[in-house]
Symmetry: C2
Subunit: 271 residues, 2 copies
């Protein structure tokens, strides 16, 4: 009997990529999409599909069980500002009510626990999209300057401590000054603001939150990150290798190289 993968899909192309890969690996796929978030294309690719509103946790679990799903994967972002208006059903309310914090990490941990308590195995994206796992090392033609390296060394431990508080994944630094800290606005908005505040030469850091679960909340980077950096006149990007997803890596590096950016994957805190 073919294994069944329950695909809980947020926005963007990522759920489609995961779906295609799962099909290739011989899975039957059961998709759940959120109205206003998920690409409707997904419905035609999966074997079974259900539209829900954000917050309808009971309905999702019931649907996955009915379809005898064994493994569950969460793929694709849910924009946090929009999600603030969610209407939790009874089951979601029960989960949320128990939480001391509703920051991302806390919610994701609780979600994983809730699915596991129902006997599902929650899997990460690594086995389905290994090519999206962000590599380590200096990926751009240009190496970081000594000032950019100093900004990385200054900012990275601060970002890890902010991550410990389960706040943002992104920090923008310029010459030993913290310019901008990500809240729920997302990385691109944070980079844009930093450009307005700090001017040319900002350094963007994006890290995995210590103690979080890489099955849901991997930092995501891509062409849009590079475009936003160019617009904001930021010159360097240091990101968490292995625990981040880098979409359109080749195109992103090409664009970064054309604009003289330096792009560095950090592994275990080091270049």
């Amino acid at each position: 009997m073919r294994k069944k993968l329950g695909l809980i899909a947020g926005g963007g192309q990522f759920p489609l990529k995961v779906c295609d890969s799962a099909l290739k690996q011989g899975y039957l796929t059961v998709g759940v999409g959120f109205k206003d978030y998920t690409d409707p294309l997904l419905a035609s690719r999966v074997d079974e599909f259900l539209w829900v509103n954000l917050g309808q946790l009971g309905k999702v679990i019931k649907f996955l069980k009915k379809n005898h799903v064994q493994e569950v994967i969460f793929a694709g972002p849910i924009s946090k500002p929009k999600a603030l208006n969610l209407r939790p059903d009874f089951r979601a309310a029960k989960v949320l009510f128990k939480l001391k914090s509703l920051n991302d990490g806390a919610i994701f941990k609780a979600l994983i626990a809730e699915f596991e308590s129902e006997g599902f195995r929650v899997v990460g994206p690594q086995q389905f999209v290994p090519d999206l796992i962000a590599p380590s090392g200096i990926l751009s033609f240009r190496k970081p300057s000594s000032i950019e390296l100093e900004s990385f060394k200054f900012g990275w431990p601060i970002l890890k401590k902010i991550g410990n508080l389960d706040i943002g994944q992104c920090l923008v630094v310029k010459e030993k000054i913290v310019i901008a800290v990500e809240g729920i606005e997302g990385t691109n908005a944070t980079i844009k603001r930093a450009g307005e505040l700090g001017g040319k030469g900002c350094v963007v850091l994006k890290a995995f939150k210590p103690g979080q679960d890489e099955r849901i909340d991997m930092p995501a980077l891509g062409l849009e990150t590079i475009k936003t950096m160019i617009e904001a006149k930021a010159t360097a990007l240091f990101f968490e290798a292995k625990y981040s997803l880098f979409f359109d890596l080749d195109k992103s590096l090409k664009l970064a190289n054309e604009h003289g950016l330096t792009i560095v994957g950090i592994k275990e805190g080091k270049i």
Copy 2:
């Protein structure tokens, strides 16, 4: 012989208030103003005055010494984004070069140490403007709701930890979610952003950074804070009592009351 106070003046009305109070207390006043920051009115109120550019530390110290200043006070904000273009003179460069961080707290500590190494006594604003020291307790007609109280209890320890990292003084929270973290953009910009991201009902927290020196970097609140909160549809303000300055307190409370805001001064972490 009359004592001499060296008044190093940033923007706004605060330096003028300190100056008037010092004159009343019998001081001779020696003012230093920064081009593009300091109200030119100050020049006519002090006994001696010097304009400098931001970063001319050697010139400031020489001027204060020539005028036999014993006590020095820093009053009035310097907008950080604008200050990023400063050109340090030799002495300022020496101070900045030694620092591992150029966040506010680190710079202020180094400045105090530099002035003290020259024999100046750096004093806080408390003795000159005791009426501006923010009081504790529930100051508004409306008491905080249980949800607002929960937001305070959730956010205050997080803000203190961010303060430990010497980042911002302001955090905006909504129902156990961190909406916005202050970087160098300032409190009002942070509140505005939070309103756009989180919608109605945000709770604004503003705290003194643990381990910082209250002689320079007291959190400042006032009419503009309340106006920004109203615009952003934030409903509650919790601030650090005793270690904050609250400008135009009566007018601010009147406006807050007209709009049903709750305003609470926190003392030693408690209401």
